[in-house]
Symmetry: C3
Subunit: 276 residues, 3 copies
Amino acid sequence: MSTEQFHVDEVSPSYWRVTFDNGPVNLLDPDTVEQLAVLVDRIEAAPDLTVVVFRSDTPGYFMAHWDFLSDTSRVVGMPLGPTGLHPYLDNFVRLSRVPVATISEIRGRTRGAGSEFVLATDIRLASERAVLGQFEVGVGAVPGGGPMARLGRLVGRGRALEILLGGEDVPAARAAEYGYVNRLVPDAELERVTDAFARRIAAFDKVAVAGIKQLVDVATLPADDELARGLDAYFATAGRPEHRPFVGLLLEHGLQRPDGVETDLGTAIGRLRQGS
Amino acid sequence: MSTEQFHVDEVSPSYWRVTFDNGPVNLLDPDTVEQLAVLVDRIEAAPDLTVVVFRSDTPGYFMAHWDFLSDTSRVVGMPLGPTGLHPYLDNFVRLSRVPVATISEIRGRTRGAGSEFVLATDIRLASERAVLGQFEVGVGAVPGGGPMARLGRLVGRGRALEILLGGEDVPAARAAEYGYVNRLVPDAELERVTDAFARRIAAFDKVAVAGIKQLVDVATLPADDELARGLDAYFATAGRPEHRPFVGLLLEHGLQRPDGVETDLGTAIGRLRQGS
Amino acid sequence: MSTEQFHVDEVSPSYWRVTFDNGPVNLLDPDTVEQLAVLVDRIEAAPDLTVVVFRSDTPGYFMAHWDFLSDTSRVVGMPLGPTGLHPYLDNFVRLSRVPVATISEIRGRTRGAGSEFVLATDIRLASERAVLGQFEVGVGAVPGGGPMARLGRLVGRGRALEILLGGEDVPAARAAEYGYVNRLVPDAELERVTDAFARRIAAFDKVAVAGIKQLVDVATLPADDELARGLDAYFATAGRPEHRPFVGLLLEHGLQRPDGVETDLGTAIGRLRQGS
């Protein structure tokens, strides 16, 4: 088993602070899937927990995206999770339903699987240095972790289609305008504002937090099988042979490294696809 | 029977202006429930009515919240309303479906049950001196009048969870940014703008107003039983013995009086719960 | 058969640019319905198409609204479209589901049927000189092309009811604030920004574009029968004898001409209905 990617700081029995750390750009990979499943188990079972903050200390990156060099056969072969869904999706579905408030404290880039992760948390606070996006369309794939279902309901059809069919980088200000994140927080105050909001919820009764969230879930969450259709579409499109050469080109241009195309991935994909 | 809390000014057969008045902070109480049921009956039966404006002349308060000192056994024992729901919820459900445009003209605070009331009206115009919020989580309760169902659909999952799990005061500007209110209107123009908009609708055909609203209802209203689950959760949580001492502490600090903690209730609850 | 109202510029096999042109204010009429059906057939059948931009070169008007002087009996008698819906609605339903990104590049006024058209496209980019609106309530009618279903889901119940029951002109800035359009683009850059965004999508794989859109459809589109109820309500209300005199008055005041009441139709209707 590899090193833990999720560092859990149990600030108190009711408040955990989780820092994600996986290489220079915080990629998600098969280990992330297995370790996130364990973390969601822990959150589900913690009797007094009311709030969890997810964050990153990696300069420029919250969670870059899925690791294109990871072992696909390992991912495909993973046993199903407790919901009966593939564990990549099972993690996100279970995370969105934990009887606990979950907050993403977003500074830096979080695209693709990273965007899917923050969409599976409850509340997204973003510094003006946050960048979100679902660039998958640009590499010929349908995103697999639920953003059609989640963004469609969160920001409305028009803006969801712009984000998903355009695949552009979405800077924090536009993300806040669209409702992709809750709101902007000045970069220098991001930790302080998030921590104060979390400590507030940490002082509240779990029965109220869990009861409120359960009914917001009824009003807002997609059905599991709608999400399963998205993951099927991902495997069907991302697994095509036509998909590989362009990913190879992106890797040559610095994909998965902290500089190169990774810095402005949405823009770079458009430029490279258009051959200019 | 107590004095009428809803003063109805029948400006014309098609336009009514209703001013709410119940004590120094405009609390909702069992009399409010009974009187609102009568008012909704009247609105439903008015043949030419196309628009109703709800407003307050009480300085600083639109509707503070539910009266914590009211007779709970009287509320619990009320006979069910025409929809088969408890009358507290029945009023809001029927109000949201009247074949008439309903507008909340919001200046001052409207929290808890007051927020639930404005969410049951069609259109919310807010002066920059409006403050909304659902502070119930801070007193250990799940809100009972439908905000999980309504805010989840109105402002999206992320912002609904922030409002409901955080329980903070939501100033008018953020309420407009989130879609909790339709838009801001400069305080000095609130009556003029609301009245002009209402007079406009008052000149339109009832068959068009009613027909449009009925189809927006299909697209946007939650099912009655989703709302019923929320009221059940309220009674189960607000009725706990653990709930009472903190409400007592708030009453000592000026709850339900026009100054004291009532002015910044969301902030005050956070401070008192965190023991600082 | 009349002249083609939709001028199709096949920029490439993957990118079409369609300019609408029908008289001095771009009215929609029975010919529009028949020609749009043919165009949607073509879009559905184009094997490599991934993006279509809809636009207008008519000064001040994207699509004014339905032609009040058109032959109603011809419209009523039209054979049903492939979805089993009346072709007016069938066009919009099929357009919203084409496996292609559709973008409305909006400058000038687009009200009533014109607003319904842009709501049936995926993405709405608006210059600050765009004006949208559903004024039908002001002429005594329920809108027929789906805006109760679409706006209710796109901008939320409160803002949808304000737009539909108020029937006011919605300037571009408010349309962007409400999510009625995706966002504002500076007028001088509208063509350049829209074209760059379209060329980007034109470089992407059709399988990804179509697969993404299909799942956003699941999350966001209304059922066909909900739309059918709206068209029924339109025919029942717009066909009333009471409806005709006011339309006659509007025609006297310049309706369907590039100046007169057509310029500020929402405001003019309010003024004329209130008899001032």
